[in-house]
Amino acid sequence: MLFGAVLLAACAGNEWASPADLGRALSGDQTMWSLLLIRWRLPRVLAAALVGTLLGASGAVFQGVFRNPLAEPYLLGSAGGAALGSTVALLVPLGVSQALSLPLLAFVGAWGSTGVVLAVSRVAGAVDAAGMLLAGVAVAAVLGALRSYLMLALSNEAVSLQAVLSWVLGGVQTPTWTALAMFALIAAGCIALTMPLARGLDLIGLGEIMATGFGLSVRRFIALAVVVASLSVAAAVALGGLIAFVGLAAPHIARWLVGPLHQRLLPAAALVGASLVTLADAVARAALPPAEIPLGLVTALVGGPFFILLLARKRRS
């Protein structure tokens, strides 16, 4: 499924390419068209797949930890933190290239805000799922207010709000091949850290008291799982901005495909997430040429109804 999605996405675009064009480009053809495909389209498609992988896997972890079908990767403040970080990068003159500061600050914001949420819930003595969710809502409100203030105070004709807005709506950056390779390494690391959480997620799904009886140190596990998943989210946000809905839908679709045991669910959610983002990114590039629709709008606009359709069919059967 993922392979098909990647192939389709690689063909789709402002100008459609045939699979044969791709084959020529990959075999070292030096025409302009082949070079364009290699330099611009393929890295973008692969980056989209990586972002989706991270969102799908972390979404499955969040739903497992919080045992809530509405849980999604941006739940614990990472969206607000990433948005604040990117706003700073786009509006405050830092004297560094935005290509560097934007992903970096988005990453720091996303992970940092989850750290704040964990710290707040610990100080408040509520290191359980409900306490963390509430702390997440509170921290998100504060971060949102800060960002709105920054946008009002710092924007002028020179630095436009549109740049901030379009980043928040999500869109996979086209990386260089080196950057892509680095990001692939980071993503592989995130997935390698995520997979050992599978058994703990299964146990915590039995309820906290049963999980404790079965030897899981519940509070420690929740904190560990949240930190690991947030690392994935922060990496995804740094490259792809805020992509609505994928982290919510991918684990559900994966659960229908392979069942609820996390040993199989985590990789399946990662693959489904990768397919979804790759396809959505293709739509974003190809639907209204030469303009490009923000990716987050595509995932929400197309993904929402599609997910409702799947849900209805599943419920009826």
């Binding site: 058994r199 799904g205 039995l206 309820g207 404790t212 030897g215």
Partner: protein
């Protein structure tokens, strides 16, 4: 030989004392029913013995070692704790649930789950999902999950409280089947079954153990009436004495 021992257990929750300086020990075999009125501290005592709740003061020894010092994995394999309520969040199959119980505390997976499932006579429902099970089937699966690692102690909190009498008796007999070679400690609301099937009765009242005796000795003791705040009539039946509230 003493296997499990509580030393001066005190548990406070929300400024209230729930258990007060409880000392009790259990042999490696035999069956014990914990009875008492609501709020006496039965579930709290059971959770402390299972190591899923940390006491405010005192300690629990398992095989002479403080249970708080055991790794979660070692504790989980040696002690089977069957909670009062169990509602898995994900709709797992019976085989998967038993697998989680059998593999708890182990790094490696695998093992022959099919034969474990067969040992609990669950083969014909092993592929069914939890949501499709009846109350009686669900309680059998839960018992199989807890016993699948062959723990040396079973601690069960009101098993089968919601079942009809036939299924409840079957369940209690199922969990006592092992009491010739391991210890079974069970919180019981059903006094009839407690006095009929168990070797030893612990009566809790007001955060303490007020009686600890075999059922034959305890049944005539007036402390029962006092603990439950009710008068019991003792009836002799062909199957032994029976308590009836009047």
């Amino acid at each position: 030989m003493t296997l499990l021992q509580a030393e001066h257990l005190t548990v406070n929750r929300g400024g209230q004392e729930i258990l007060s300086d409880v000392c009790v020990s259990f042999e490696a075999t035999g069956s014990t029913a914990i009875i008492g009125p609501n709020g006496a501290g039965k579930s709290t005592l059971l959770k402390s013995l299972a190591g899923v709740l940390t006491p405010t003061a005192g300690r629990v020894l398992f095989g002479g070692k403080d249970i708080a010092g055991l790794s979660g994995a070692a504790r989980a394999r040696a002690i089977g704790y069957l909670p009062q309520q169990f509602q898995p969040y994900w709709d797992l199959s019976v085989a998967d649930l038993v697998r989680l119980g059998a593999e708890r505390g182990q790094k490696k997976s695998g093992g022959d789950i099919d034969s474990i499932v067969a040992g609990f006579e669950l083969t014909n429902m092993s592929k069914r999902r939890w949501s499709t099970l009846s109350g009686g089937e669900g309680s059998r699966v839960l018992l199989a999950m807890v016993l699948a690692s062959d723990p040396s102690v079973l601690l069960a909190d009101e098993p089968g409280a919601s079942l009809d009498v036939r299924h409840r008796i079957a369940l209690v007999q199922g969990l006592l089947r092992r009491s010739s070679k391991s210890a079974s400690i069970v919180v019981m609301h059903d006094l009839d079954l407690a006095f009929r099937f168990f070797d030893r009765i612990l009566l809790l009242n007001g955060r303490r153990i007020v009686a600890d005796a075999p059922p034959r000795e305890l049944i005539d003791d007036r402390c029962l009436d006092e603990a439950f705040g009710i008068q019991f009539e003792r009836l002799e039946t062909a199957h032994g004495p029976l308590l009836r509230a009047i």
